[in-house]
Symmetry: C2
Subunit: 450 residues, 2 copies
Amino acid sequence: MGRNLKFLIIGGSDAGISAALRARELDPSTAITVVLADGYPNFSICGLPFFLSGETPDWHQLAHRTEFEGIDLLTWHTAMAIDPTKNTVDVVDRENERKRLSYDRLLIATGAVPLIPEIRGIDLPAVYSLHTMDDSFGVQRRLLEASPRSAIIVGAGYIGVEMADALVHRGLQVTLVGRTRSVLATVDPELGDTVGDELRRHKVDVITNVEITAIESSKCLRVSGTNGFEQSADLVLLATGVKAASQLAVQAGISTGQKGAIQVDQSMRTNIPDIYAAGDCVETWHRVLQQYKYLPLGTTSHKQGRVAGENAVGGNRKFAGCVGTQVVKVFDLAAARTGLREQEAKAAGFKPLTVETVAWDHKVYYPGAQEMRIRVTGDIVSGRLLGAQIAGHWRSEVAKRNDIFATALFHGMSVEDFNDLDLSYTPPLSSPWDPVQLAAQAWCRKASSR
Amino acid sequence: MGRNLKFLIIGGSDAGISAALRARELDPSTAITVVLADGYPNFSICGLPFFLSGETPDWHQLAHRTEFEGIDLLTWHTAMAIDPTKNTVDVVDRENERKRLSYDRLLIATGAVPLIPEIRGIDLPAVYSLHTMDDSFGVQRRLLEASPRSAIIVGAGYIGVEMADALVHRGLQVTLVGRTRSVLATVDPELGDTVGDELRRHKVDVITNVEITAIESSKCLRVSGTNGFEQSADLVLLATGVKAASQLAVQAGISTGQKGAIQVDQSMRTNIPDIYAAGDCVETWHRVLQQYKYLPLGTTSHKQGRVAGENAVGGNRKFAGCVGTQVVKVFDLAAARTGLREQEAKAAGFKPLTVETVAWDHKVYYPGAQEMRIRVTGDIVSGRLLGAQIAGHWRSEVAKRNDIFATALFHGMSVEDFNDLDLSYTPPLSSPWDPVQLAAQAWCRKASSR
């Protein structure tokens, strides 16, 4: 190392900044420039719901970091074109002034953009999506200035359920409308229903199996959809997912794959020499599926960015792959998942069996014990652990129990061997067999009785 | 299977009952008899501090289970002698009546007994140890009938610190006396001091570096020790560790090893055919050290018992080994460890480096964030993860974060690869790099800068 490379990064969120930090750490001789379209480098976009709920009063707190020593930050600059033959990138600033930047290594970390469904009236002023800091400022302004009393959230995924929680916290009457038969379609309907119940317990009007088709404005917004859905609200929030922001890459001749996301190898290299890509704009290697999927997540972006940054300065690191881990907190409930669900496993050619166990988070004789639901999915042919899902009180170590499964999945453990893990126990925090192992044992009993 | 075996188990605590349950599950034709010296099958001895604190008001709640269908329980029977040539065990009941039981397979699960230090006056009436249900009834009776206002606890290990918490909860003035330079010698002094601070914050008088040498009785108990220690109290509790209850096995010609614990292979077989042993009476295979150690723990007893039960009825399961995982809650603090500490690693021939990181349990912009201290020990030659310790708020998922390390250790991961794990994140519960990964990264930085 120490070859005075020019490392140019397009995108200043999780992947871009992680790459910059890693490159700086490994090779101080590299000149690192990060081009970002807004003025919020390395902000925690996952934190927007908590800013809008009022729990995080000052948006400045959302910065993962504010110190970028040794990194040249070009804020409010949008990358317009990459020329891979000349190793240059054209950018424009807010005054529309164009500038040409050159690179030895380029990282495309352009992230994702909201997937806007085809809904009539989607451009009305009180209809918002929530993906950038500026989006959140728009919603915040509306909440402060127009004092809306009701909101309809379109989309019942992670952001949708978090925003339902946030707007209830803010005093609004909230309707949450999802297309699938239960909310949070990334977990099984059984656990999704648990999340739905928790939302209803907090007065959220939860509507499933409805696709919104139109929004009309009168005094307030009139929202209609399939199955006869019609309701009015002062505010509509779209939380209908994202797609890879890969247009810039495509124009430069970079290959894309699933859902238009950029194709990379495990070194985070694209098909064009010296150009890397990472984060929400790329396909992600899935370790359990042993194939690429589009699974945009902040955790993955950090890891991929770190790998790209290391390799850009001459390293030889591989992205080991995700295993499909996610968690969300909704009011008092946490719902987590890792690996494959039954349907995903079937589609991938496994012979999955899913067994649900209800277990106490700690010995019930110690005060405050809470039940959690644990669903284990394994392959009945090989006995291999394929996935797990947990729903329980957010103080029940649901997230990090899920991560024990995630770590086991990373190593391809069987469900039976999972019982060999030496996990910690004290009566206020677990049982001699941790609930996750009780769930594994229940799976083994069911599998052997078939 | 299905060979109508007679499976006799000596001991009705964690290992014995786990073996019985596993054998019953796998082979209903086996006749299973459990001989236990008292009347409390499968009670949670780890729960005694919470019974005595009053948090678990009824001792019956401490039973891990009360249903033993298909298992013949011989309570209040003490095993006196094993005859391995005739495959018999002699037992006596409370009336001193002797009975001879025969077996095809025998499991010795006699557990441990308190390690009583040589202290003058240790037999005085107000001096208690705490290992059995009956021990706890004695202490409980004393607390109710004599209303002691002060207690001295001798021994500052897991039970000692938990009992300090418990007796403070009960309104006593507590002095905790330990031999080592910090409490909880199973974690590094840095974290032990954190535990000590938490105890002092709750008015426990914490004394270290003192060995108790004498207890005298006048109106109350006068306790003296090294370094000029002298103090009086109404009650003295000994929490000075345990040793394997292996006498019965020794008399039958069974080999013992470290600290007099029974030698077993990973199938939980002793050196005598058809005799298995498991739990606090045996040496435990340590997966990181790749050698046997005496490490009596309830979690390990459950696992070993399950393996022994499976093998006793014809199975072929191996105990995969412990990795040295433990956790304790003291007031608002949880302290957990897994793997090797620096000194243990050195003694085992590694070249360890230990790096401490202080990290928030979740994004600090979400309310209620708490700092935790994470110490990672790795081998600087191979980069291999050797151990980890965490001290933090007991609601900070300290225990199950520790178990992510435990799972990584089980698989022999390197500290660097630990960053590849796909762990769950949502702002109220973690950060995009979980604190455990931030700690791993800090270790890598330190290791590479050497």
